[in-house]
């Protein structure tokens, strides 16, 4: 009797010991997880921090052999200098113009196309859609070689047209919007038909409002694309009048190694990055939704 009672007591003690041990292990794991995440977050953030503090340092301070992690004197004049050396104002307006016009036209084309694929019946629909999806596999460089010739022959070099027209159709956006349109019940369309509503009116009144989140995602990604595009603009419109922001930035600061005036360069980089961050802060939801489905940058 007594021994068995003793056994039970001991077992309970053991159990308590084990659960206490588990708790310690769990706490340690938790600390480890947080430590790992915080260290990684610091590494991810560091370049942004370095950009910002470097952009307000004086050249002398930036060049001190022992770096300062907080500027001794805040030089906002670096930003003024960056803005004028790189002619950023002009670049901003150019990029904004190209971004807005191409987004608008692209939206119209995409909506019409997605509507046809989602709502209308026509011969060869599936084949056509399949062929369009297949073109997504081909790397863009393959198109660029011929497109460069085409736009040269059309006399489009160094115009805004050349920056807008070749990229108006994105099969991916058509696909995205088509999927979204298909979720809207067909009965609504048939009812509208019975009432004699025109397609365009139905699109504007029903489809577009219901697919608004997707359309916003497309708009943001398209604008970011214009902001970040580099290769094509450099190839076809590298004159001062039509140059876009990324290109202009790289052109204004060609020196990457050796004796570089970094504070001014970092100020320019900060100015160029700022709109992207603002968009991100306010419209994060839409960007993430679009990105997780695309796997493409910009």
């Amino acid at each position: 009797m007594t021994t068995s009672k003793k056994n039970i007591v001991m077992r309970e003690k053991d159990m308590q010991k084990v659960s206490a041990q588990q708790k310690v292990v769990q706490a340690l794991v938790k600390v480890g997880v947080y430590a790992f995440l915080l260290v990684m977050a610091l590494i991810v953030l560091f370049p942004f921090y370095w950009m910002l503090i470097s952009s307000v340092k004086t050249l002398e301070e930036y060049r001190m052999s022992v770096p300062t992690f907080w500027p001794q004197k805040i030089m906002l004049s670096n930003y003024v200098e960056a803005f004028t050396t790189a002619n950023l104002g002009r670049l901003f307006l150019n990029t904004l113009y190209v971004g807005l016009v191409s987004t608008l036209l692209s939206l119209v084309i995409t909506i019409l196309c997605a509507f046809a694929f989602a709502r209308l019946e026509f011969k060869g629909k599936e084949t056509l859609f399949g062929l369009m999806l297949a073109t997504m596999m081909i790397p863009g460089e393959l198109f660029t070689i011929t497109n460069y010739q085409t736009v040269t022959q059309l006399g489009w070099l160094n115009t805004f047209t050349v920056l807008i027209v070749p990229f108006l159709v994105s099969v991916f956006y058509i696909y995205l919007l088509k999927q979204n349109f298909m979720q809207i019940p067909n009965e609504l369309y048939l009812a509208a038909k019975v009432d004699g509503t025109s397609d365009i009116k139905y699109l504007c009144k029903v489809m577009i409002p219901l697919a608004l989140p997707t359309l916003i995602s497309i708009t943001i990604l398209k604008m970011m694309g214009a902001w970040n595009s580099y290769i094509w603009p450099r190839l076809v419109a590298n004159d001062a009048e039509h140059r876009l922001i990324t290109n202009g930035l790289r052109n204004a600061f060609t020196e990457t190694t050796g004796d570089v005036n970094y504070p001014v360069q970092m100020a320019a980089v900060a100015i160029v990055s700022a709109p992207l961050f603002l968009v991100f802060i306010f419209l994060r939801k839409y960007i993430m939704a679009g990105v997780s489905r695309s796997g493409i940058k910009g």
Partner: protein, 314 residues
């Protein structure tokens, strides 16, 4: 029953997209094939009335070209290094993020930040961090003003400063900088996709494992990774496709010289090669190189998918 009015309307709505696709997508595909198989093709010469013979000379020239092999080596090296590193890191971060409650939203936002950047602009920031400032040309008796923050950190921990990207730097140092930058850039997308996948795994699996007293590492290897395998396959495939098209991140750090000042072109990639050939008006060669790139991407994607089929659990 397809009524005629709908047919007519559908093609009307599709017409803007189809016309643009024909001009800027379909024609380029045909024309690239044509240019690639015409010996020594040049568009300028063709306008002048020259004719070209059919042949595979462009491909042979590209493959024999030493510069192309260097570009291919760089591209493959960067792919092979950055895809596993970034995938593994993203997986660890995603799993860690998924296991916490406090700070999850803010950390998630921080990890996504590199995505919304301009790869040229932030490349310049990385260049600044690795750059040795001064009249530094990779020879003796230099006037070094600052060795750059990365070197400062290395020296703080007792290491020796490295010439990362300046004149006289070593190839491996250049590649290291590129790997760091590309991984930093590739993390957000992978974390986003993997975290989304983790959050959709049914909690019952984990509860069952808990009841059975399964160890953490076993849960990770036997539940998390298999159920996450479609997402892992997805980020690996897109990672390889992106990796083979690497170009702008190198321009961001090294500028258009694609290498340190004393070794221009040393870090050029396959895409860079295509553009260089295009700028030198060797359209035939550029087309051949672009087709080779396309075929490599196809093969790698196929291999990934075949390998994936064996290990992906849907």
């Amino acid at each position: 029953m397809v009524d005629n009015k709908q047919q007519w309307k559908a093609w009307l709505y599709l017409s803007p997209a189809i016309i643009l696709l024909l001009v800027f997508t379909v024609w380029p595909i045909i024309n690239t094939l044509r240019m690639a198989f015409l010996e020594g093709y040049s568009a300028q010469a063709e306008v002048g009335g020259a004719t070209f013979e059919f042949g595979i000379g462009n491909f042979l020239k590209v493959i024999e070209y030493k510069k192309f092999l260097q570009c291919m080596q760089n591209t493959i090296l960067l792919c092979v290094l950055t895809v596993p590193i970034s995938t593994l890191l993203a997986l660890l971060i995603a799993v860690a993020l998924n296991s916490i409650k406090g700070l999850q939203k803010i950390l998630q936002t921080i990890f996504f930040l590199p995505y919304v950047t301009n790869s040229i602009a932030i490349g310049m920031v990385f260049a600044a961090m690795f750059n040795i400032v001064g009249s530094f040309h990779g020879t003796e008796n230099e006037i070094i003003q600052t060795a750059g923050i990365i070197n400062n950190v290395i020296e703080f921990f007792g290491g020796e400063r490295v010439n990362w990207i300046n004149a006289g730097s070593q190839y491996w140092a250049n590649i290291t900088v590129m790997v760091v930058y590309i991984v930093w850039n590739a993390l957000p997308f992978k974390i986003l996709v993997l975290l989304g996948g983790l959050q959709s795994i049914n909690a019952q699996y984990y509860d069952a494992a808990k009841v059975d007293g399964t160890s953490r590492s076993r849960v990770f290897a036997r539940i998390t990774v298999p159920l996450l395998s479609p997402m892992l396959a997805y980020v690996i495939i897109t990672g390889f496709i992106g990796g083979f098209k690497e170009y702008t991140s190198i321009v961001g750090i090294f500028g258009e010289t694609m290498g340190p000042p004393d070794a221009p072109g040393r870090l050029n990639t396959m895409v860079g090669f295509v553009y260089e050939a295009l700028e030198n008006k060797h359209q035939g060669r550029a087309s051949a190189a672009a087709l080779i790139l396309f075929v490599i991407i196809l093969i790698v994607t196929r291999l990934n998918m075949r390998f994936g089929k064996k290990s992906v659990y849907y």
